[in-house]
């Protein structure tokens, strides 16, 4: 792993100025997070919690009111920071008059690619996202799942080290959603850092190494997923082939029983990410 974090957000605050009598709106308040190179980081939170604003700040699409963000050590406001990033926005649309292959050529050219390098990379991305058969079809006729996969392909076209995915499974059917989940796991195996937001907490639990939970523009929880979902004041005992009697006299039997009964694991039982999310985001709003 590289010493420089893939993403660094330091005390980010974003206030949108009010227009025509409307007051200013603080979308993000003093958020800090670090995404280490090679990990999958999930940023979750209810609608309006500041996730997209944080992502936009990381991508240099908006200027922080306070704090700073950087990508592999390069400040996000510098265009050069985008050399190592691929971004998939929520519900992306592409130029409808282009077909899948032309769309990837367009984005590749924007990244300075050309010739055989662009052609071979395009074919590689079409194969990776399973769009080879639809490569010559106009994007206007793509389904939502295909658009998301094309979005992933364009995000990866210039071989970025970091992928930022905003709701990559939004509006996609379960099988399409699973394909995207599998792709995220594959990106991790290829050493690509992934920063992802999603409302599908079960999937986030499956793919993320670390998560940050945002609510009301603040980071309310952050850390390794395994640590976050551990319930600290409870102990879990997992038995194999335990009888009802054994369960009734659990403490004594564990020590006394032999044979086929074994204590497999002891530690803290896990809650689900979904429960943690509901608990964290329902905490009273800080002033």
């Amino acid at each position: 792993m590289s010493a420089t974090p893939a993403v660094s957000v330091n005390h980010l605050t974003k206030v949108f100025k009010g227009h025509l009598g409307k007051g200013a709106f603080r979308a993000v308040h003093d958020v800090s997070l670090t995404v280490e190179a090679g990990e999958v980081y999930g940023l979750i939170g209810p609608n309006g919690s500041g996730k997209s604003t944080t992502m936009k700040a990381i991508l240099g699409l908006i200027k922080p009111t306070e704090g700073d963000t950087s990508i592999f050590g390069i400040p996000s406001m510098e265009v050069a920071s985008r050399r190592s990033v691929g971004f998939l926005p929520e519900n992306p649309y592409f130029y409808k008059h282009l077909n899948g292959r032309e769309t990837l050529h367009f984005y590749g050219k924007l990244c300075g690619m050309a010739g055989d390098q662009l052609k071979s990379r395009t074919e590689e991305m079409l194969a990776l996202t399973g769009l080879e058969d639809a490569a010559t079809r106009r994007v206007g006729g793509y389904s939502k799942g295909m658009l998301q996969r094309l979005g992933l392909a364009q995000a990866l076209i210039h071989e970025p080290q970091l992928l930022i995915l905003d709701e990559p499974t939004a509006g996609v059917d379960p099988s399409g959603s699973r394909i995207i989940r599998d792709l995220i796991i594959e990106f991790r195996s290829r050493g690509i850092t992934v920063l992802v937001t999603s409302h599908l907490l079960e999937q986030m639990q499956e793919v993320c190494d670390r998560v940050g939970i945002m609510a009301h523009g603040r980071m309310v929880r952050e850390g390794r997923l395994e640590d976050l979902i551990a319930v600290e004041n409870q102990t879990e005992l997992v038995f194999e082939n335990a009888s009802p009697d054994l369960l009734a006299k659990i403490d004594a039997l564990v020590k006394a029983e032999g044979g086929g009964t074994r204590l497999l694991r002891s530690g803290h039982p896990r809650t689900t990410l979904e429960r943690l999310f509901i608990e964290a985001t329902n905490e009273p709003k800080k002033p």
Binding site: S32, G73, A80, P89, L98, Y107, L110, G112
Partner: protein, 307 residues
């Protein structure tokens, strides 16, 4: 929450520089995007209209007929190019933002200046392509009409037994002056320059405003004001007219709006007057200056725009 270091030293990086190739990629995509908005059928309709106009006027005399044809067709061409430039430009940025295409483009190593320049060039390339096609159609019809009118006039002179070589030569000169000359192309060039300036103004306004309708309405207002720029200047520099506040606001208006009357050569061309090279250079220079200034301001606005 992680204890991220608040003072990570920026890595040494090569900055992303302006790239003509990237701008061309964006311009070409913009042009094809607009062509898909059913612009071509509209262009063909316009050509058919021009062709119909060429033969639709009643024959008063050859000179008047050719003048009427040029006045009408160049006038319609001017309106077409300005309306197209304003509407297409006003739609482009909000559409890219709404479709989030702007996010996918600007999250690549694409400087914002390259993006706005690509968008502008895309619109201008399409206007230029349209004008070249229409110019070719217009030239052909004018040449055809010129030949037909000359033959008809000579036949008339012959019938009246007035077809002396001098009379025929005079008729040839009259028809040639009002017929197909380089002046027609300069008029089309002036129309392109005017449309380019107006398009750049529309681009600037679409970066400031979030509403397409607002951009269209205000750019049309600026276009109308731009045609009366001389009157505004006259008002500003007349010490006895209006209050100081009115004069200051008028001065600001004059500074903001381009002087579009600088490109009005259509009437002169229609009347058979020769457009001197100096005037062509001057128009081109003025347009280049306006476009540079408006584009620079557009860049300043767009680079700060929150997306």
């Amino acid at each position: 929450m992680s204890n991220a270091s608040s003072s990570s030293a920026p890595a040494s990086v090569t900055p992303v520089r302006f790239s003509p190739r990237r701008v061309w990629t964006l311009a070409y995509a913009t042009m094809t995007q607009l062509m898909r908005m059913k612009i071509l059928p509209f262009l063909l309709l316009f050509c058919a209209l021009v062709a119909a106009m060429g033969f639709g006027f009643s024959v008063i005399n050859p000179e008047q007929q050719l003048t009427q044809f040029k006045t009408m067709s160049l006038g319609v061409l001017q309106v077409f190019s300005i309306v197209f430039g304003i509407v297409a430009t006003a739609l482009l940025l909000p559409k890219d933002l709404e479709d989030r295409t702007l996010y996918t483009i600007l999250s690549k190593p694409v400087p914002r200046f390259d993006y706005v320049l690509g968008k502008l060039l895309g619109v201008l390339m399409l206007i230029a392509s349209g004008l070249v096609i229409i110019d070719a159609v217009l030239s052909f019809i004018l040449w055809l009409q010129q030949s037909m009118l000359f033959n008809a006039a000579v036949a008339q002179l012959h019938t009246e037994n007035q077809d002396s070589p001098e009379a025929v030569a005079q008729m040839r000169e009259i028809v040639a002056r009002q017929g197909l000359t380089w002046n027609l192309h300069w008029a089309v060039w002036a129309i392109f320059l005017k449309a380019s300036v107006v398009t750049t103004v529309a681009l600037l306004l679409s970066c400031i405003a979030s509403s397409t309708l607002f951009t269209i309405v205000i750019t049309f207002c600026i276009t109308i004001i731009g045609h009366g720029h001389a009157m505004i200047r006259e008002f500003v520099f007349q010490p006895n007219l209006g209050s100081t506040a009115t004069r200051i606001s008028t001065f600001v208006l004059a500074a903001i709006c381009p002087d579009l009357a600088q490109f009005d050569v259509v009437d002169s061309v229609a009347n058979g007057e020769i457009v001197p090279w100096a005037a062509v250079y001057e128009m081109t220079g003025i347009a280049a200056l306006y476009i540079t200034v408006y584009l620079f301001v557009t860049h300043l606005v767009f680079v700060e725009k929150e997306l």
